[in-house]
Symmetry: C2
Subunit: 434 residues, 2 copies
Amino acid sequence: MRTIVRDLSKHIDETVTVCGWVNAVRAQRKIQFVIVRDDSGMVQTTLRRGQDEAMEALIDKLHDESAVRVTGRVVANEVVSLGGIEIVPERFEVLGAAEAPLPIDRNTGPEQRLDWRYLDLRLRPEQRQVLAVQSTVEQAMRDYVFSRGFVELHTPKLMGTASESGAEVFKLEYFDRAAYLAQSPQFYKQMAIAAGFEQVFEVGPVFRAEPSFTSRHSTEFTGVDIEFAWIDGVEDVMDLEEEMIAGALRRVEELHGDQIFETFSRKVKAPDVAMPRIRMDEAIELLRSQGWDPEGQRAELDPEGERRLSAHFLEQTGSEFVFVTHYPSSVRPFYHMRPEGDPDTTLSFDLLWNGLEITTGAQREHRYDVLCAQAEEKGMALEPLRQYLDAFRFGTPPHGGLGLGLGRFTMTLLGLESIRDTSFLFRGPNRLTP
Amino acid sequence: MRTIVRDLSKHIDETVTVCGWVNAVRAQRKIQFVIVRDDSGMVQTTLRRGQDEAMEALIDKLHDESAVRVTGRVVANEVVSLGGIEIVPERFEVLGAAEAPLPIDRNTGPEQRLDWRYLDLRLRPEQRQVLAVQSTVEQAMRDYVFSRGFVELHTPKLMGTASESGAEVFKLEYFDRAAYLAQSPQFYKQMAIAAGFEQVFEVGPVFRAEPSFTSRHSTEFTGVDIEFAWIDGVEDVMDLEEEMIAGALRRVEELHGDQIFETFSRKVKAPDVAMPRIRMDEAIELLRSQGWDPEGQRAELDPEGERRLSAHFLEQTGSEFVFVTHYPSSVRPFYHMRPEGDPDTTLSFDLLWNGLEITTGAQREHRYDVLCAQAEEKGMALEPLRQYLDAFRFGTPPHGGLGLGLGRFTMTLLGLESIRDTSFLFRGPNRLTP
């Protein structure tokens, strides 16, 4: 029966078994100290020389990061800096020996750390914490949509045609023909609406064949996708996201708040004000009045504009979040709905958090004839879209939804420098290992 | 503000708005009846002719399955068979018109129904129910592992080498080189253990390039994967699965039990006895004594043997589940641990439920030298495995885990004939659409 390190102080003068990694070995003339680390903390084991030759020899050969199991008595000793306790080992087993030296340490450069990502995660507990926080975020979002009656679906990642936008799609050999990897569950979650599901949710991998090397891009990432029917307008989608994010941040604050403050110097706090919403044209006007895009050439925000806009609203309203709405039709896909009598605009939004776009959402065009016309207007051939378009021929209700990048959310939440830190094993144009 | 059909009886003599699909139109000489269906039920709307010409004309042109929004007064009328209420419409809007006729109906053959899967799901609510139950199963499993402190990770689906078993792997073009789709998160979840995560969980897509056309196979399916460290033996893995499944079945019973009994004639019941465990050699002996494999040629169970064994234990113990343990090394992968001094056997198991294998699990070999030796013994080249093997060089604790096919679980739970009914959009060797 294993005792975790955090609980050892409840077992003074008892014999326990501890499992963990060797954090350090300090061999002195009269005593051997081994610091054993598990997820909950570290403990010192203390062996006086001359009492157990076999154990002494084993510890002399022990390398850092070996996986060990130690059985011994827990002793209170106020001179021990690790919690004032130590273990006097009766049995010391090396269950998984480590080679020495390790190929990386805490100071190795980023690419080589990615080469040995699992060791980097082992050596830097704060990196494992990123993924634990991300797991909490994801589950809190799920709990929120389930409380509203959503169903979680798994849409196919294998597609017969590269429909949405051929350029960024990975192609694969599929028996005697070609298949493509889904770059978003967009079309499929809309098919779920056509299928009579009123509210659907998915968390799954998304593949992008983009040769981008920025700190915000990867070729495979985890998308959180939501789509729901019978909406009255795109505001319903933003309302849902507002509540979902507030719920997720409350949960993170509760479960990880102190630890995050300690490790990342970030104070997690669920938004206590509504997230402001501003139309794209108004946002551009506002930013231009403050000196952005002086030549007046942009139809939408660039990353610099996004940062400035976020800073403005943080200062004016105290909100780290801002919805930018009504993107021009020219920069939005054909399936975004346009307001009645205003074909140059879409009923769409991005959500910015501290200057980073974490979500794109919209009300979708659900009327078959309008949808076809909008695709043609964009110069798209309808035949490759046939499977998708057909789903709108037999009675599809008004609906909308959003896609949220889980890694971008975590990156902003913890103030990380790169999306790579939010992936267990990052994938980029030059990176398919480990 | 929308009212769902199930709640209409609370709104007698009030004006409400109902959203749903046209289930049927019955135009009579003096009255037009439209049956509107939403997820919660069906309601009749009743319009007397001669009162609203525009609405009358609209209903005369209305096709089944159109998405409509109806505002009107709820009237108690005991002659109405649908719950004794009807709606007298004041406003009738067609939000998404349906073409007629529909390309399929409830009697169309299976392949054509898959061609129009979203319509099939719309027309057969029991098919949507399958996916709603599956969503509950998945979430209950997640809640169980989270209660034990697991972290959910998303492992890469893109791999640099076709390591585990080249034959069944899809290959894709990845910029200037090749990549492969993960056929299991096996290697990656073990890397998570090497990374210092003690308990990890994943639900995600799994890809198999197998040209199989059986009712149990697909090229893309949803896998539930678990791996955890510091186990004392493979029994720990079976214990976890037993509790996880019992928890999932309790949740399904609670949330869907009545509906499942009504639709699928299945009584859902969480196991109230321990799941029996039998060694493969003993299972074979037992079955041979009952006339199976009379020529004594098999080293493991075939599907017929699995069915017979399940039937035996159901009769003897009342358990629909049985763990078959200690598969021969010859039929298990190199990374399964073998018992001390018994190299022909593995510390592995399959879980059978009513004769169908739903899980494979094992304690893994975590010792680098033993792992390499076992791979070589299987005739595998070590170089393609290098990325995986390296994860065992720097101190990896004992660990084990399992993979469960979510669709197979749901199929058995509901007594479905084919795995296809458990996929939102099925993918097979001949099927990449819709």
